[in-house]
């Protein structure tokens, strides 16, 4: 599907709706206890990985979303994180750059 939108020069341009994949990193906020990370550090050391200093364990999501542009995709996933995907009490989140997925309608 194609939508008419205007760019900053107020020229009408055609935007392609595409399927974007937005990777999301969700990590425990600094200072928040991370029992999993602590247990994994212990395990890695007993496995001989002496050089490991710290491990923090969070969640990695890939969100596939249809949007007019990478910016729009990022923006909506940002809102999903604020609304639902991350728990602001104990987590911070960061988005990675979106990539276009094959198979999105256009």
């Amino acid at each position: 599907m194609a939508a008419m939108i205007t760019n900053h020069l107020h020229q009408k341009i055609e935007a392609q709706v595409a399927l974007y994949r937005v990777p999301v990193q969700i990590v425990p906020r600094p200072g928040i206890l991370d029992p999993q990370g602590a247990a994994v550090v212990g395990a890695l050391k007993t496995l001989g990985f002496e050089a490991v200093a710290d491990v923090r364990i969070g969640r990695f999501l890939t969100v596939d979303v249809e949007a007019d542009s990478a910016e729009a995709a990022t923006l909506s996933v940002q809102r999903m994180c604020e609304k639902l995907l991350a728990n602001p009490v104990i987590e911070d989140f960061a988005l990675e750059a979106p990539t276009v997925q094959p198979g999105g309608r256009s």
């Binding site: 906020r29 928040i32 206890l33 247990a39 995907l85 728990n87 009490v89 104990i90």
Partner: protein, 767 residues
């Protein structure tokens, strides 16, 4: 006394700072007098932690003193981490209930989980092995997404923590009422078992004995959580989110095993959980109990974060930590035991003869208080108590005048509506998320009345249950307080157990308001009367004030946690009908009472009228009737009659165990002089529905206890369904229809709302 100087970087002690620490000007003067100078920032933190309501009980102590705490079975009453009662054979039960309401309102999953962790520690610090968990929960209506989110998160938090520790969660109660919107109640109870000679107290003793910090490292978690628990909830609480601690059930499990090994080892003289107000309250309280001095060096406390100040280390509420007083010279032995469990133990101070509570940072003294005055000089308040006008007004409403809806012309409609009301409906959706069979002692798990746990190596079992009807307490706190105890006792007796003792969790609003303080003192008075009448002394408990949301106070909710003992495994009785053809007998009598009923709340949306009368002699008679008939072997099942009244109690006895359902034909026409809806749905107290193959004996035993009793019907086969003759009409409902309403109500609400699915999901992925 040593010289105490402010630390570089300490904020100046301004009236604002004092206020932020929740101290009144009078309280501040009191501290300054005690010290003979103004407190330092560190000292201010200590005082604010110890003198807030949660730790000091400053508004409740005088009232709580009136509760009966003596009894033949009581080994340890209030004042320790948990109460302890003897159940014979040299075996004792330690138990305690505690609230985690405010943390759960802000972060339901972690709030509930850490609540479970805290109450577990209270019990195993007595030397008891935790054998069962219970929980008593209150939420606003499930119509709201926020409440579904809180419900789902709290249940998951309770489950994940208890399941991981390997202590079965066996009973509890969940009530939904708009009165709890924005301020859910999350009370967790733990029951532990020990040999009487294994009991250990949290009393610092022995000059020169080392004080050891055990378990998890200390971070900046939940600093001032204790004062947090003593404030009304408001939008501002959102900003307090970072205070909420994260639970680590794995470390707790190690701490549990290590602590029990430590206690049995004889290397230590005292052990105490670092709960609310962390190191500060645990050390100060241990010192006060032992009437000795202590000195603590915060620089020796193992920390998780860099640059922590003494103030932060003292007030941190990092979970899964213990404070231990060991025998001098046994430090290494203690370390070895903890090391075996991959835990650390650091000596951070010692017991001293000099009567001071002293905190140092290295060799610099950062806080010092004379003797145990920190604890003993804490202010006590007696607020003037005056009943609120609303309560008087609501109670005086004549609810019998409330017109029936036209649907009610068919009582089947009302019965199904009540069975499907979330407060009455099966809580399987919740307790199916709790491991209730681990440790293989659970004879009767969630789903009936009280839970029953066998005591290995004996022919005994214990029964446990929590109960409280906040609506009754709101309408008449004294009667409501009595009923809470009576219902818990009745539930326990239904299993064949002799009610032994209680613990209580008193959830109320802001005690500085006269109408709230009235509810508090009256409810406590009612609890006391019932405990004396039923010979179930109070062994401890917990007070949670300031349970208020912007819309006002919650229903006053004094939750009772009851423990009873069954002297022979043969006597264990279940709540569901067992044999087709058995007679159905009602112990107790029907009345025209409807006040405060679930019927009025669910069908008419009103909480009004007088709550049902509570005749304590009658309650004792009913309990004795139950126990004598059960011991005589003439009762097949017993189910107490509470929310929803007689119709609901009979329906539950037919189908609350989905694997063994029956039918029932019941004749209630003997009460034709009473309104049908009062007979079917009224909540008259002192009633139990029993089934029996030997009616005559049951009626005879009831008469001997001057308890009215009458055969009201017969257990029929499943296809018979429920058939009730009441007044001039006959009510017919299929057993499956009843089961459908009762068993699917909550799943339908919870599983079909993606909102919950996910938020629950977010919580889910957190662990």
């Amino acid at each position: 006394m040593s010289e105490v100087l402010p630390r570089p970087g300490d904020p100046a002690i301004t009236p604002e700072l004092v206020k932020e620490h929740g101290l009144t000007p009078d309280e501040f003067d009191r501290v300054s007098k005690m010290l003979g100078r103004a407190p330092t920032f560190t000292e201010l933190g200590i005082v604010s932690a110890l003198w807030n309501e949660h730790c000091s009980y400053k508004h409740s102590k005088n009232t709580l003193r009136t509760l009966p705490t003596e009894g033949a079975a009581v080994i340890q009453g209030p004042g320790e981490n948990a109460g302890v009662v003897s159940i014979g054979d040299g075996i004792a039960i330690a138990f305690k209930i505690e609230s985690h309401n405010h943390p759960s309102a802000v972060e339901p999953y972690q709030g509930a989980a850490t609540g479970v962790g805290g109450i577990l520690r209270d019990v195993f610090t007595m030397g008891a092995r935790p054998i069962a968990m219970l929980n008593s929960l209150r939420f606003g209506s499930l119509d709201s997404a926020r409440n579904r989110y809180l419900f789902a998160g709290v249940v998951k938090g309770i489950g994940d923590y208890g399941n991981c520790i390997g202590v079965p969660t066996v009973a509890g109660e969940i009530v939904f009422d708009p009165a709890y919107d924005g301020n859910p109640l999350v009370n967790a109870m733990c029951v532990g078992m020990l040999r009487e000679d294994e009991l250990i107290l949290a009393k610092a003793q022995g000059i020169g004995n080392p004080i050891i910090c055990v378990g998890a490292r200390t971070g900046r978690d939940g600093i001032h959580g204790a004062s947090f628990a003593s404030e009304d909830l408001s939008e501002a609480s959102e900003a307090k989110r970072p205070r909420v601690q994260v639970g680590d059930p794995f470390t707790e499990k190690l701490l549990l095993e290590a602590s029990l090994e430590l206690i049995r080892s004889g290397h230590i003289v005292a052990i105490q959980d670092m709960g609310a107000a962390g190191l500060t309250s645990s050390s100060a309280e241990m010192a006060a109990r032992g009437d000795v001095g202590v000195t603590i060096d915060t620089s020796l406390v193992p920390v998780r974060e860099t640059g922590m100040t003494p103030y932060e280390i003292l007030l941190s509420e990092s979970q899964e930590r213990m404070l231990v007083v060991a025998l001098e010279g046994h430090e290494e032995a203690v370390r070895e035991i903890l090391f075996k469990w991959d835990l650390t133990a650091e000596v951070i101070g010692k017991v001293i003869a000099e009567p001071v509570y002293r905190v140092t940072d290295g060799d610099k003294v950062v806080a010092e208080f004379p003797g145990s005055e920190l604890v003993t000089q804490c202010p006590r308040y007696n607020v003037s108590a005056k009943e609120g006008a609303d309560a008087v007004r609501l109670r005086s409403i004549d609810v019998s005048a409330i017109a029936e809806l036209h649907e009610e012309s068919d009582p089947a409609w009302t019965t199904l509506k009540l069975l499907a009301s979330p407060t009455i409906a099966s809580k399987r959706w919740a307790f199916q998320q709790y491991d209730s069979t681990v440790r293989t002692n659970t004879v009767v798990g969630p789903g009936g009345d009280a839970a029953v746990l066998r005591i290995r190596g004996t022919d005994r079992a214990i029964a446990v249950k929590t109960d409280c009807n906040g609506r009754y307490v709101a309408l008449d706190p004294r009667v409501g307080g009595r009923i809470a105890v009576a219902e818990a006792a009745r539930n326990v007796a239904c299993t064949g157990a002799r009610p032994l003792a209680i613990t209580n969790c008193l959830n109320f609003g802001n005690p500085t308001r006269p109408e709230i303080f009235f509810q508090f003192t009256e409810a406590v008075a009612g609890i006391g009367e019932a405990c004396i009448a039923l010979d179930t002394p109070v062994t401890g408990g917990n007070v949670s004030f300031y349970n208020e949301s912007p819309t006002g106070s919650v229903h006053p909710t004094p939750v009772i946690g009851m423990v009873g003992v069954i002297d022979s495994l043969e006597h264990i009785t279940r709540s569901t009908f067992r044999n087709v053809g058995d007679a159905i007998v009602l112990l107790g009598d029907c009345t025209d009472e409807l006040g405060g009923s679930e019927y009025l709340a669910t069908v008419h949306g009103v909480t009004a009228g007088k709550p049902p009368r509570c005749d304590l002699d009658r309650e004792r008679g009913v309990i004795n009737t139950l126990l004598q008939s059960i011991q005589a072997g003439v009762i097949a099942s017993a189910h107490d009659c509470s929310d929803g009244g007689l119709a609901v109690a009979i329906a539950e006895s037919m189908m609350c165990n989905p694997d063994a359902t029956t039918g029932a034909e019941v004749d209630l026409t003997p009460w034709a002089s009473l309104p049908d809806r009062a007979v079917l749905f009224g909540e008259a107290q002192g009633r139990v529905v029993v089934s029996s193959g030997e009616v005559a004996r049951v009626l005879q035993i009831a008469a001997a206890n001057s308890v009215p009793a009458r055969r009201i019907g017969t257990v029929t086969s499943r296809d018979g369904g429920l058939l009730i003759h009441v007044g001039s009409q006959t009510v017919r409902i299929g057993t499956d229809q009843l089961g459908e309403a009762y068993h699917t109500a909550i799943p339908r609400i919870m599983n079909t709302t993606a909102q919950v699915a996910v938020i629950d999901e977010v919580e889910g992925v957190l662990v």
